[in-house]
Amino acid sequence: MEFDFGPVITYFPTLLKGLGVGSLVAIVVAFMSVVGGLVVAVISVYINKVLSWPLRFFIWLFMTTPLLLQLYFLYFGLGEWILIPAILVGILGLGFHYMAYNADIFIATIKSVSDGQYEASRSLGFGHGATIFYIIVPQAFIRAIPQLGNNMILMVKDTSVLSAIGVAEVVYASQYAISVTFRPFEFFIVIALLYYVINIFMELGQAWLERQTAYRR
């Protein structure tokens, strides 16, 4: 097999555009899944037993089915009643998927903050809510950083699955280019490289963040 990276260069701007779309989705999803996961976790640990059951069901549902299927479901399945644009479906699907995973982590780290912390805060006169907000959540968050980082790294790779519902991220962009140029391997190699570089930066970022917070644990 001979390689010819000429077509890759021709279509590189398209790939970059795809990368931009993918990054946008990833950033929104990261924000949504971390904040959402935290909210879900706090609710299910602290606030309301009744409310926590549907939330647990939600986590369970998103954790037990493949992302691809969830995306199809939101896009085509729900499409019979309500039309959600592909990119929004992608954000919601990925967002909920990782929200479930993150919630799971936060539940564990919230529980790992010792009762002593709760009591110390209460004995200063902080209320239940204030204790959760000022004492428990920040500590749970710091403890969750390593695992959250891993999840976000996985999530970035999963943005490639969005090509299945037509979100114009980088894999999607390459699919078009491949179907025109018939140069699949060249594009796959370049895409793998792009992901790898992004991944390295994310890992560096994660390590930095862990170092920055290590002394606060």
């Binding site: 097999m1 085509f76 499409g79 019979e80 039309l83 644009p85 592909a86 299945a164 037509g166 999607y172 699919q175 078009y176 491949i178 179907s179 025109v180 140029t181 018939f182 140069r183 699949p184 391997f185 796959f188």
Partner: protein
């Protein structure tokens, strides 16, 4: 692989499996369709054992270039760019692009009317390439993975119109009767559909072309057309 290698083994043929009536899975789980029957007929003429499989579009191209399968009999259009990477047999049918809209739409009568609309096409089809190359700055393109999702997109209003090979849509309409109609927007390009194989396999290419000519000559071809496309249809 070359022909002599295939003779000692099995002729591996691939299609997308999601492109009725050319290749699809019936509710019994069998891979059937026009392309499948053609593959079997050709194999019989060539005197080789055949195994027809399906693979998503991405895989098909990679398979052809990398030599994973021996031939793609999958309604693939024969274009100049693709010839850089694979070899094509003589055409085995000719597909025509057609434009489809919802039953109630009446403002699309020419390509100029596409302006500002969302145009759907399916990944890997030449219609997709045409739409992307010509649509720059005029209309929005949306690519689907397969006709079913595109038709779903059209009926639910995700797209305003779709460009697709006509036969599959016509067949799908017989099955499902969705509220869509074909509109005439003037001349659209036509590409012949051909069998693609790896480059530089002259023996295999020759055998395929010979077999193709034979099934056309002895009526096998027309029987397959009658079975899948419609009685007496002419798609050459």
């Amino acid at each position: 692989r070359e022909l002599d290698e295939i003779r000692g083994d099995v002729f591996q043929v691939v299609n997308s499996g999601a492109y009725p009536p050319f290749s699809f899975v019936d509710t019994q789980g069998n891979l059937v369709g026009f392309d499948v029957d053609i593959a079997e007929a050709l194999a019989e003429k060539m005197g080789v054992e055949v195994n027809v499989q399906s693979s998503p579009w991405n895989g098909i191209i990679a398979a052809m270039v990398g030599g994973r399968f021996d031939a793609c009999i999958c309604s693939m259009s024969d274009t100049e760019e693709r010839r850089q990477a694979v070899d094509f047999s003589d055409p085995y049918y000719s597909a025509g692009l057609s434009v489809w809209v919802q039953g109630s739409t009446d403002d699309i009568n020419s390509i100029d009317d596409f302006a500002g609309k969302t145009v759907g096409s399916t990944l890997g089809e030449t219609g997709n390439q045409w739409a992307v190359e010509n649509g720059e700055g005029k209309w929005r393109n949306q690519t689907f993975q397969g006709l079913p999702s595109m038709m779903n997109g059209l009926t639910t209003g995700r797209i305003d119109l779709m460009i697709a090979d006509d036969v599959p849509v016509l067949v799908a309409m017989q099955e499902n009767a969705p509220d869509i109609k074909m509109v005439d927007v003037g001349e659209l390009p036509r590409w012949p559909a051909a069998i693609s194989i790896q480059k530089n396999k002259p023996e295999l290419l020759k055998a395929l072309n010979t077999a193709l000519a034979e099934i056309k000559a002895d009526g096998t071809y027309q029987a397959i057309v009658d079975k899948w496309i419609g009685e007496g249809a002419n798609i050459e």
